[in-house]
Amino acid sequence: MKIACRRFFFFVLWLCHLGVGLACADTYTLTVAEKSVNLIGTKQTAIVANDSLPAPTLHWREGEEVTLHVINRLQEQTSIHWHGIVLPYQMDGVPGVSFSGIEPGQTFTYRFRLKQNGTYWYHGHSGMQEQQGLFGALVIDPVHPRQKVERDYVLLLSDWPEADPYRTHARLKKQSDYYNFQKRTVVDFFNDISKRGFAETLSDRLDWGQMRMEPTDFADVTGATYHFLVNGQTPEMNWTGLFGPGDRVRLRIINASAMTHFDVRIPGLTMRVIEVDGQPVIPVDVEEFRIAVAETYDVLVEPKADRAYRLFAEAMDRSGFAAATLTPKIGLLAQMPTLRPLTLLTMADMGPMHGGGHAGHADHQAMPMSGMAEQPPDAEHAEHAAPPNHSMHEGHDASMPATQTEAEAPMRHTEAPAMGSYKVLSYQHLMAAAPNREWRQADREITLRLTGNMYRYIWSFDDIKYSESEPIRVKFGEHIRFTYVNETMMNHPIHLHGLWQYLDNGNGAYNPKKHVINVPPGKTVSVIVVADAEGEWAFHCHLLYHMDAGMFRKLIVEKREHAGR
């Protein structure tokens, strides 16, 4: 019965697709080549698609059959990965995993039908090409448009290095704190003593000293080499979007950085978050959100005043910022906000690392789902400013332990959920706009420890680097609960190709689905993955140098027949 239903559903889907597909089968061409650019006052070599940095925004339609030729005019292999797009794995574009890459002078033709809509992006998956400029936005229009807006802008955030990325990587291997110019100094030590007293300051320093770590270590590569860009433009170049009186403006904010998480705000405007990672969520009004590397957030703003607004995206470690302007007329400028001071990591962020290196894995089981409640460092005072309905959500979320069975969770939000309003968005606030029909208990659980050695700049899963790892194998149709246990002091945005990760933030069938899940330092986060696409998929931390250093796995979704039972 269930299977028959499903078949019928797919048949209808197929008919629809056929209809739409015939109507709009389009062909696109991207030519990847080197280009000399001058973004930061010196000439540098970028890797660009169609001569453009960032690569051109591709506008597609849901249901469309995409045919896309990628021509490689480089001296080295290239590839393009369609980030967040559900497609046959041979079209996913990861050399060595799902295809063999595109050799110099060759053309590869991607062909797939779009089963989704929303905001996504695409980027190179070879060498350091993503860091060198090979990234662009994907906007897929829905079959049935939901939200009518007067203006619709893509804001692609990125980090542009002063040095060649291979050199950056080598520097990190030689001295992993090379780019951290916010370390604790003797002056800070005395300031802390006057603020917190001698005993507490000393014990704090000894704690960090014991671990051989730095509480300011938010980012491996920082504003010391990075220039932060919006749509390929520095804050001085000031990318500008126009709006008219009374306009509703949709901003598709994409973090196409190699290494940088941003805290995004538009002073004077409340942002209504409507889609995350291309998926509609129950709208949430926020003043600020943190966007991890490779995530996308679609927000609506309604600027009322006849003045300019500044979109301000601070690097998480406060070592720099990207900025752009929304204005009713060209030439009007808004005041540039200043970077807020860095809030230090605490021992609580270190979770299992504290006081015993990597010992004590047993604690993880008992650890509450604090990972989901993780907010930008200044969220603390934000909490007090939040309006009353805030407590309604936070109330039950906070009291919910990780051990809660999934069965009782879905009841929570079956009544029409109210729209929340928060100072700072957290994963806890995200609820899918429509329930997930496939929602059910996971068939099995796979715990993946996010591991690394900051001192030697080695990154891995379960202490095993990609080069020494075996693929993770799951069966087609299986529901797997992946539990990510972050044993490091860095954030890791975990990206799974081809399959959705349903973030378990306690909303049951309304758990939001994402292609990137950020796991903060010392935290544990669980997701459910529905293995509904056969093939070999890349599964990795989206921080480029972490991926390169070994925080990467191949995930194989096997056909049922192969499973051998």
Partner: protein, 201 residues
């Protein structure tokens, strides 16, 4: 993937009223995360006398054994004061509280045992102005007549260097060393002023 690092930790002039020395302490490694080949050389050259006081070269295989530690094994060739070959076994890494440790045991041809321990720490005055206290102790298990080595602590150095990182890779410094030397023939101690540069690539 292979990486390499050349590091001139000390490249300096050291002296006082009666002493003028040029000293070096250089390491170079090439390898991957687990396995590295290390070259280390240390020595001093007396400008007054036109001779090398000490000069040696170590070639070591370095194996990562835990998060912060490498085990090292190899050989040392001393050129001055006399030409000798020693086997070397040691540990190098970062101790708790971020104390840099380089330790080695040298086993001479006649089976005598010498030891060397280097401890360093970095104190940030600002992000680029760094005070680096350091201690080096050399010990010998028993007397070695022909080398003039006396059992016990043969050399003790405690010093302080203040460097300014113009770039991470390039930092001039000033400082001082307190040095005590003990041998079968003599014992002396002195305080020396130091100026030099630390550079790496």
């Amino acid at each position: 993937m292979l990486f390499s690092k050349f590091m001139a930790e000390r490249f300096e002039y050291e002296g006082n009223d009666s002493l003028h020395l040029f000293k070096w302490d250089i390491k170079h490694w090439i390898g991957n995360d687990e396995h590295k080949l290390y070259l280390k050389t240390e020595g001093d050259y007396s400008a007054d006398q036109g001779i090398f006081g000490r000069a040696d070269l170590q070639m070591l295989y370095s194996r990562n054994i835990s998060t912060f530690w490498d085990f090292q094994i190899g050989a040392r060739r001393a050129f001055e004061p006399e030409r000798t070959f020693d086997a070397v076994i040691g540990f190098q890494g970062l101790a708790p509280y971020s104390i840099e440790v380089d330790s080695a045991a040298f086993i001479t041809e006649n089976g005598n045992l010498l030891g060397r321990l280097n401890l360093g720490y970095e104190l940030l005055l600002t992000q680029r102005l760094i005070l680096q206290p350091r201690i080096e102790v050399n010990v010998a298990a028993k007397d070695i007549e022909n080398r003039g080595v006396k059992a016990g602590v043969t050399e003790f150095e405690a010093g302080m260097r203040l460097r300014y990182e113009i770039e991470r890779e390039f930092a001039p410094y000033v400082g001082f060393d307190y040095v005590e030397e003990e041998s079968l023939r003599e014992h002396h101690h002195s305080v020396r002023f130091v100026v030099g540069m630390r550079f790496w690539y």
